[in-house]
């Protein structure tokens, strides 16, 4: 096992380096650069442009830039944001907690809700409940997330006036302690809710199909013949067998969502990394982008390994 993990880690590092290089090339070759943002929309002063390019080393050939960046990155330094003149690692560190809070809460809840729905639909296959749940999941699957988010805002904030419209905290109040926590929770409800709705179809589908598959396995018949009641059989035997595939989905969506929640973060003005990336994209803030994509690459690589390990822990048949 340890050898296997070692091998995977080495492969992962290689992958990350390749992805990192490709990212660098793609990001830099794509049209646009951070200078435009620095110069402002209103001016096209070539003198200013040249001065800024020089200042940030963007006038050098790409390979030189790459080597320079690699040198600092090797030291564990993600560089300094061109736009905000702030260490990239610091900016990411500031934003990551908000996103992780959002993503983890929503991830866990949608895992639970989506999987539960899938399980229920599988157990009642062919009934009205199955049809309703499946239909619901089709609809959610086809719905743009921003639309869902805005709908929730309109319903719960504008019409019912029971939840705040945007943000992570109430800007007017400077709350501390328990009140602060409550405030954050209140602000989380809508974005988390939207994310949950967006994520449900994936979990629903995988849960439903794997429960259906496990239910047809021969060992279920044994348990049934032994007189075990449905509930116990389900909770203990079907569940543990059927839950395995959802772990992969969960892991990957966690890794992806670090940048993938951008649209939802924008709609709800949630101060997280998704928005950081989107802003950095608009401003072509190369160091921030490289940093974020590197973080994402690393988390994807780690998640892949963790998923395999968890799998091996839950499924005794898998050995490395």
């Amino acid at each position: 096992m340890s050898k296997y993990i070692g091998k995977r880690v080495v492969a992962g590092i290689f992958t990350i380096i390749i992805a990192f290089t490709l990212n660098f090339i793609i990001i830099n070759l794509a049209p646009g650069d951070p200078i435009k943002t620095l110069m402002g929309k209103e001016t096209d002063d070539q003198q200013l442009r040249a001065a800024l390019e020089k200042k940030y080393g963007l006038d050098k050939p790409l390979p030189v830039q790459y080597v320079n960046y690699l040198k600092t990155a090797m030291k564990g330094d993600l560089g300094t944001s061109i736009i905000y003149n702030k260490p990239v690692s610091k900016m990411i560190a500031e934003k990551l907690p908000a996103t992780i809070l959002l993503v983890l809460t929503a991830g866990i809840l949608s895992l639970i809700i989506g999987t539960t729905m899938g399980i229920v639909a599988a157990r009642k296959e062919g009934t009205i409940i199955d049809t309703i749940f499946s239909g619901f999941s089709y609809i959610l699957n086809s719905m743009p997330s921003f639309w869902l988010g805005l709908m929730l805002i309109i319903i719960f904030s504008s019409k019912l006036k029971i939840l705040p419209t945007y943000g992570m905290t109430n800007p007017r109040a400077s709350l501390t302690g328990k009140a602060y926590v409550m405030d954050v929770i209140k602000h989380m409800i809508l974005p988390v809710g939207t994310l949950i709705l967006v994520e449900i179809p994936a979990y629903f589908r995988i849960a439903k199909s794997s429960v259906l598959q496990v239910t047809n396995e021969d060992f279920i018949l044994t348990l049934k013949a032994a007189g075990m009641d449905e509930k116990k059989m389900f909770n203990k035997y079907i569940f543990k067998n059927a839950i395995l595939p959802t772990i992969t989905i969960f892991g990957i969506s966690m890794a992806y969502l670090i940048t993938g929640v951008a649209l939802i973060e924008i709609v709800f003005a949630w101060p997280g990394t998704g928005r950081l990336v989107l802003t950095a994209i608009n401003q072509r803030d190369y160091p921030t982008l490289m940093g974020m994509y590197l973080i994402m690459s690393i988390s994807i690589a780690i998640v892949m390994i963790i998923v395999d390990i968890v799998y091996a822990m839950l499924d005794p048949r898998i050995r490395y």
Binding site: M1, S2, A312, R319, Y320
Partner: protein
């Protein structure tokens, strides 16, 4: 034993590395010794039966013989040419020379093709027949030969629309269609009903007689093996423990394992019942067996020596070979 047999299996082994457990500590590398130093010889037109308990490596041996699997050690010679060389030089003609019939007829055909497509494939691959029309005719004839009527109708069906017996027959016909000289039949009847398996057996017999093909017949049904084969090899945990003329082996088994095997083999004639020889202990696993005789831990007749060293093979007369310390 003659030295210039048509097929010569020379000290073939297949060891699978065992995936180690979920511990983080390093463990010693372990192997499943599925096949462990097997040597056999088969003449043209001869049928060799291979028997042994499940998991003793019969199928693995079969897969090595058709080169679906690379042996860890040893080689197979066909007409004195190494098969590893043969397949490297000209894979196609090797495939034409050696064919296999699998254990499970239900899974031997791709479910999405019709029988016609399935049967014409090998003809296409090996360029047998000049036109699609001709190949079709060859298939029709083969089906008729295999007793599958009406052939026209069967050709249009999908595998799931046929019974196991029919599928197994088609499996044999497919293997035969390229005129192989060496056929491995891996438990070709174990999945079939008694009422149809006689057909299959008789078909194989006909094959060896008419086309002079060498056949290895793998089975754990001893009565059937004796019925079909000229000679029999008994396997235990990847090794051959007894080998000889089939009647000789059945009627006069020497190795304690063979004795137990045959005594346990029930006949349907209630009068023919014999005293069963019981084997104690759990079925052993092929993971790092030894060092002594692999059967020793369960052997009712073991002596001290059995646990120390793997016994050499000795001839008890008439080419009847046995690997047992007590006889050596």
């Amino acid at each position: 034993m003659k030295n210039n047999s048509y097929i010569k299996v020379d000290n073939v082994s297949k060891w699978y590395p065992v995936k180690t457990g979920f511990g983080l500590k390093k463990e010693e590398k372990q192997y499943v010794k599925a096949v462990d130093g097997v040597s056999l010889e088969i003449e043209k037109g001869e049928i060799l039966g291979v028997i042994g308990e499940s998991g003793c490596g019969k199928s693995t041996l079969g897969r090595i013989l058709v080169r679906l699997e690379e042996p860890t050690a040893g080689d197979v010679y066909i007409d004195n040419i190494s098969s590893s060389k043969l397949i490297k030089q000209d894979a196609k003609s090797f495939r034409r020379l050696v064919q296999i019939i699998f254990q499970n007829p239900y899974d031997s055909f791709t479910p999405r093709d019709t029988i016609e497509k399935i049967l014409t494939r090998p003809l296409n691959i090996h360029s047998i027949g000049n036109s699609a029309e001709e190949r079709r005719k060859i298939c029709l004839e083969a089906l008729e030969f295999g007793g599958l009527h009406p052939a026209e109708d069967i050709m249009q069906r999908y595998p799931h629309e046929l019974s196991g017996g029919q599928l197994q027959r088609i499996s044999i016909l497919r293997a035969m269609s390229v005129n192989p000289k060496f056929i491995i039949a891996d438990e070709p009847v174990s999945m079939l009903d008694v009422s149809v398996r006689a057909d299959i057996i008789n078909m194989l017999l006909q094959l060896s007689r008419e086309k002079d093909a060498s056949i290895i017949f793998i089975s754990h049904d001893i009565a059937l093996t004796r019925y079909i084969s000229n000679r029999v090899a008994v396997m235990y945990l990847g090794r051959i423990v007894e080998y000889g003329d089939s009647d000789e082996i059945i009627k006069n088994p020497q190795h304690p394992y063979t004795q137990a095997l045959i005594s346990n083999c029930a006949s349907i004639d209630p009068d023919e019942l014999v005293e069963k020889i019981n084997i104690e202990g759990e079925p052993s696993t092929p993971i790092n067996p030894g060092p002594g005789c692999y059967f020793a831990p369960r052997c009712p007749k073991r002596v001290e020596e059995c646990l120390r060293k793997y016994p050499d093979t000795c001839d008890v007369g008439n080419g009847h070979l046995v690997a047992c310390s007590r006889l050596g």
